[in-house]
């Protein structure tokens, strides 16, 4: 540890001047008064690194030193010869400036998103009119990963959701002896609302995040730029296949989720309410119209577009490094779930207006 002793006009320095041991010397030296010190005896300094040399040159620069080891003197002169500027101040922003920047930033993001949607639509329209330009391989790849691989989790969760609904409803319905109405409860809520919504939320968490992370990482490693340079439009290679794959996969997953959900409800009804499977299916066929099913499945492509577009857009928003990938992925999942639920609410309003 660096230490010092004062003897009249002589200051005796000693100890180890290493970064690891400087911590309290720093404050002691700060309070030191160098009035009347004419000479420094540095014989006792055992070792010194650049941090120590800096501290030395900061406090004792103008004072003649005797007995300093050759290598220490070299280090001190090296360090004091460096042109080092003062501390970097962070520019403080006032509340108004922060609010203004945040608001304007949000508005700009919205415009960028709109232009991204526009660009994606143009590319989509172009490749739909000339299917030979379609990149089938990435579409199939995405179909497998975003669609087929999600079957177990989507099926299990909607089965459980069916079980829960019918279990919750059972007690209320049994009180009125309206056991058979469990079919309406399970059927309508599953087909119209929960099937599509649950599937969309699972896919947003599962595939939306994957889209963002993939595109974001490619952006960080300049793969996107490389792609552009080779003459492949990232829109066509990365974005369209994802949108198309989800447009196909999400409605199919929704149908599957509907079936599993109703089966879950059916099983629970026969346990809790004694509604047999044949009664359940009879009643289901006569009361649940095909419109309930179509209304539910019809929402799925819209949800799919939202998830794919938000996921890809947030991926392209990545800039810098790993930190930004994580941030945009979070944002992607939160935003796509948010927009899915908003879209669902809008659908409810529209359907009630047209009496569906």
């Amino acid at each position: 540890m660096p230490s010092m002793e004062r003897e009249g006009a002589l200051l005796r320095l000693s100890g180890k001047w290493n970064a690891a041991e400087l911590a309290d010397a720093e404050s002691r030296f700060g309070q030191l008064s160098l009035e009347g010190v004419e000479e420094i005896d540095a014989k006792g300094i055992e070792s010194m690194d650049t941090a120590g040399a800096w501290l030395y040159s900061k406090h004792f620069a103008g004072i003649a030193a005797i007995g300093m080891k050759r290598e220490h003197a070299d280090l001190v002169s090296l360090v004091s010869g460096m042109k080092v500027e003062g501390p970097v101040g962070k520019s403080a922003q006032g509340f108004l400036e922060k609010a203004g920047r945040a608001g304007w930033g949000g508005f700009e993001k919205l415009l960028e998103m709109l232009s991204f949607i526009g660009e994606a639509s143009v590319h989509l329209a172009r490749s739909l009119t000339s299917p030979s330009r379609m990149r089938w391989k990435p579409i199939l790849h995405n179909l497998q990963h975003a669609g087929f691989d999600a079957l177990p989790i989507a099926g299990l969760l909607s089965f459980l959701m069916g079980v829960v609904i019918s279990y919750q409803g059972a007690e209320q319905l049994a009180r009125y002896g309206a056991n058979i109405f469990v079919v309406n409860l399970v059927g309508l809520s599953m087909l119209r609302e929960l099937g599509p919504l649950l599937t969309a939320i699972i896919i947003a968490g599962r595939s939306g995040s994957a889209f963002t992370a993939q595109i974001g990482t490619m952006k960080v490693t300049e793969e996107i730029d490389a792609m552009r340079t080779i003459g492949i439009a990232p829109m066509e290679q990365l974005v369209l296949p994802k949108i198309i794959a989800l447009l196909i996969a999400l409605p199919l997953l929704t149908v599957y989720a509907d079936i599993m959900g109703v089966m879950g409800g059916m099983m629970m009804s026969s346990f809790e309410l004694g509604v047999s499977y044949t009664d359940f299916i009879d009643r289901f066929g006569s009361t649940i119209g095909v419109s309930a099913f179509l209304v539910g499945v019809g929402k799925a492509p819209v949800f799919a577009a939202i998830i794919a577009v938000v996921g890809c857009f947030q991926g392209f928003q990545v800039s810098g490094g790993a930190d930004s990938v994580g941030m945009q992925t979070t944002r992607s999942v939160v935003q796509s779930i948010f927009y899915v639920i908003v879209a669902d609410a809008i659908f409810s309003v529209i359907f009630s207006l047209v009496n569906l």
Binding site: A23, T50, D74
Partner: protein, 258 residues
Amino acid sequence: MKEAIVSITDLCTSFDGFVVHDHVSLEILKGEVFAIAGSSGCGKSTLLREIIMLQKPDSGSIRVFGREITGLSEEAALDLRKRWGMMFERSALFSSLNVLENVGLPLREHTLLSRELVDEIASIKIALAGLPQSARTKYPDELSGGMRKRAALARALSLDPELLFLDEPTAGLDPLSASGFDELVLNLKHSLPLTMVIVTHDLDLLWHVADRVAFMGGGQVLGVGTMQELSKSEDPLIREYFYGPRGRAAREQAWKPR
């Protein structure tokens, strides 16, 4: 005879049956600038990674500062890690921190110095690595390739390591910056008590800066010695390396007095 700061004996490494090191033995002496050369993919970076304990060799022994490092516990490893610095082939700067924070990070982590002093010391390291002070507030993705290398060097120097590993420090630099880097290494060697291990393909760096060079090829060390000694070697691979068109130019250059 100087003491060995790193000594490697009978080191073997393979990736899924692909042999990278086949009984490699090397000694690096205290205070020297030791260079490792060899064709791409011959296992130079892997060797460095094994010395700094980022990767385990299949067999063999590595002693650093006189301690066997294969099979060392994490706590014991930390003491060693503070004594060496590594500049990675692809810089590996932390993307969420600016240059000053990147360079100051090891100091903040391992010492109790005040923020102000850490920033000052980091600024010195940045100047030492040849970066302008205006680069301090920039983030890694706002730097050019060469500046990134210098920032990585500054971070490697942050704790005043006794042993400094540089993986291809001059790759991707313009000739002027590269020769500036040669000067920088000589300067550091002069002013700090450093042992440097440099992996490089840069013939100028090999001729002008390295005290000794190890030439790797075919999973083995084909030759160790000064460049003069190596250039007289009979090994066909080494001859090809030094007597190819580029090798010849650099060698002739090196004989001229500077």
